[in-house]
């Protein structure tokens, strides 16, 4: 496969995805969604709109029983749970709202956690150091237990961890909700510029419309259900 056709394959593709909890009406019905490599999408949704479920589906935690999700062309519906875990380790980065780090591991160990589960990440340790440096975390913090860091610092470590394997997709679930205005701005810029450098596609979910400004593409959950494409 040449680099040209590679670029043609969407980083993320949803095909007639339907999800419902047993015995309930469908929570999610997404006819179609395509995100190109490097595309950053803001998804706006109020609580209860199925955001969390969508993220669990995208990350391969929940199996997609109806429809399909393709990560860089790889169909998730065709994969076993173990294979989906594997795919998540090597191709998907996740950043939570807060408490992204295992408190008893050091900063560096937290970033390298991915390499324990992903297929071999080339020069993982070097890359971890590079990312931490780029994200403005001083070297003396790297060996400190993660719970000694401020929330802002912890969220930056979370970006480093999510991007360690140069994933095709970065999923962010309101990562700025615990940050004040100044830190939030700084965080968004760092995250998006690093993702851009990695060529990683970003799906950013939030109920805070103020964050729209950082994105070129945005959708709300209702549009998603109608199959509107980001443009």
């Amino acid at each position: 496969m040449s680099a040209h056709t590679d670029l043609k394959i969407p980083a993320l593709e949803l095909k007639s995805l339907v999800f419902s909890w047993p015995g309930q009406a469908p929570l999610l019905e997404i006819p179609q969604l395509q995100l190109a490599q490097g595309q950053h999408l803001f998804i706006y949704g109020s609580s209860g709109s199925g955001k969390t479920t969508l993220l669990n589906l995208l990350a391969g935690i929940y199996p997609c029983k109806f429809g399909d999700i393709l990560i860089a062309g790889q169909s998730m519906a065709a994969l076993s749970a173990a294979k989906r875990d594997q795919l998540r380790a090597s191709s998907i980065g996740v950043v939570f709202q807060q408490l992204n780090l295992i408190p008893y591991l050091s900063v560096l160990q937290n970033v390298l956690l991915v390499s324990a589960f992903a297929k071999k990440i080339p020069q993982a340790e070097q890359r971890a150091r590079y990312l931490l440096q780029k994200l403005g975390l001083e070297q003396q913090l790297w060996q400190a237990p993660a719970n000694q860091l401020s929330v802002g610092q912890q969220q930056r470590v979370a970006i480093a961890r999510a991007l360690l394997s140069q994933p095709a997709l970065l999923i962010a679930d309101e990562p700025t909700s615990a940050l004040d205005h100044k830190h939030r701005d700084n965080f968004m810029q760092l995250m998006l510029s690093e993702a851009e450098l990695c060529g990683t596609t970003v799906v950013f979910v939030s109920h805070d419309p103020a964050l729209r400004a950082y994105f070129k593409f945005e959708l709300d959950m209702e549009q998603l259900h109608k199959g509107v494409q980001p443009c």
């Binding site: 969390t52 993220l55 669990n56 990350a59 935690i61 929940y62 749970a81 173990a82 875990d85 594997q86 998540r88 380790a89 090597s90 998907i92 996740v94 939570f96 408490l99 992204n100 780090l101 295992i102 408190p103 008893y104 591991l105 160990q109 956690l113 991915v114 324990a116 589960f117 992903a118 961890r161 679930d173």
Partner: protein
């Protein structure tokens, strides 16, 4: 990686982990200790007498004969004739014999009337002969050799005079006051009932009972003084039992049958090994109960630990979600919890061993001197490995409950744990 995680996670909760390890250490040390004492008791019990091929007494059950002749417990049903004993001694298969005359005591300790062959041929443990710690074997009629516990508990020195009592109670109204015995020797500790015995010559037994009739004290004015006794014939008329060493082990059953069919009087000849095993069978009920209780203590401890783990699961939900997010399969969550338990159990087993060995080492002197117990410092026996494997197995089995719950929760709640 999982190992590193488990170690770091345990270290992070070191307070709880320490308490868990302490409680598990105590119960495992208890288990190992009980098991060890069981083995030691059995080996010390079965080594109470060794090298003796047959024990012969008046017709009775083999347990009764064993109990009074070796363990100094209970009483003989009857005496046996001295002349018959002398006859058996001449049997071509008999290598040596030890006559035993029982029935008297000294302040609760049994008096054994015997002869110098006792100190020559009596063996215990791995065929160890008796050794004198101080003094010498009795040579005169009114001399006594004490077991180590008797000497120590009653504080007797060589040269001291002791008075024997008639009968075997610790309080006796019939005392052999007129014929005191001089302590001439003290035996080294053996860890057997020998330590609790007072040994005097058969002639001594005969002498103190001169003039006694039908087990009663002599009538006033008819008692015979110690000096007078020496001039009289002190050859015993009866003894209680005797031990035989045979020239050939092969002859044991033949000689036993001959003795059991002895024409002169009804005798019972027993094989001490067989009788000891039978007695141990009865006693082992108790120690099996003890072991069972210990196992239950371990189960209770483990249930407590699992409860603590279950209570802590909610706090760790976040941690598990992070592991899932970086691509850990849900099984990692299960394995992590089991591995942590395994580490704690191994740590507990290690410290239980250290505590046990240190304890045995520390109390070794005390046990030997105060109780005549000789307990080996090494608590490892053939089945200890199996026992410990069972403890580990049980730990993992019970640990599977919280581990499985955490696994299920990790599958269901996904990445976005709302706190």
């Amino acid at each position: 990686m999982l190992m590193q995680l488990a170690r770091a996670s345990l270290w992070n909760r070191k307070g709880t982990v320490l308490m868990t390890v302490i409680s598990l250490t105590i119960s495992i040390a208890l288990l190992l200790g009980i098991d060890h004492i069981r083995h030691e008791a059995k080996s010390s019990f079965t080594s109470t007498v060794s090298g003796t091929d047959l024990i012969v007494g008046a017709r009775s059950s083999q347990l009764n004969l064993l109990l009074y002749s070796v363990f100094r417990i209970g009483n003989a049903t009857n005496n046996i004739g001295w002349q018959n004993y002398k006859q058996v001694k001449t049997h071509p298969q008999v290598a040596w014999s030890i006559p035993l005359s029982l029935g008297d005591s000294h302040r609760g300790y049994r008096v054994i009337g015997t002869n110098e062959d006792y100190f020559k041929f009596y063996q215990y443990g791995e065929k160890q002969p008796l050794k004198l710690a101080q003094g010498k074997v009795f040579a005169g009629v009114y001399q006594a050799v004490l077991g180590s516990v008797v000497a120590q508990k009653l504080g007797y020195q060589l040269g001291e005079q002791i008075i024997l009592s008639h009968g075997v109670g610790s309080v006796s109204f019939a005392q052999h006051k007129d014929k005191p015995f001089e302590v001439v020797g003290i035996l080294a500790a053996t860890g057997t009932p020998v330590d609790q015995s007072v040994h005097i010559p058969l002639e001594g037994i005969e002498a103190i009972h001169l003039g006694w009739q039908g087990g009663g004290m002599p009538a006033p004015g008819r008692s015979i003084s110690a000096e007078q006794s020496l001039a009289m014939d002190l050859e015993p008329k009866v003894i209680t039992a005797y031990m035989l060493g045979l020239k050939s082990k092969m002859a044991t059953f033949a000689v036993q049958r001959q003795l059991n069919e002895f024409k002169g009087e009804p005798l019972s000849a027993i094989l001490p090994g067989v009788a000891l095993a039978e007695l141990w069978q009865m006693l082992s009920m108790v120690e099996n109960m003890l072991l069972l209780i210990t196992v239950l203590v371990i189960v209770a401890t483990l249930v407590g630990i699992v409860t603590t783990l279950l209570a802590g699961l909610k706090e760790r939900q976040r941690e598990m979600a992070i592991l899932r997010a970086v691509g850990a399969p849900a099984s990692t969550v299960f394995l992590l919890i089991e591995l942590e338990l395994l580490l704690m159990a191994l740590l507990s087993i290690g410290s239980a061993f250290i505590i046990l060995v240190a304890g045995l080492w520390g109390f070794r002197e005390l046990l030997a001197s105060q109780y005549g117990l000789f307990i080996s410092i090494n608590p490892w026996h053939d089945q200890t490995g199996i026992l410990l494997a069972a403890v580990l197995g049980l730990t993992l089995l019970l640990g599977a409950i919280p581990a499985f719950l955490a696994y299920r929760r990790a599958l269901a709640s996904g990445l976005m744990v709302r706190l």
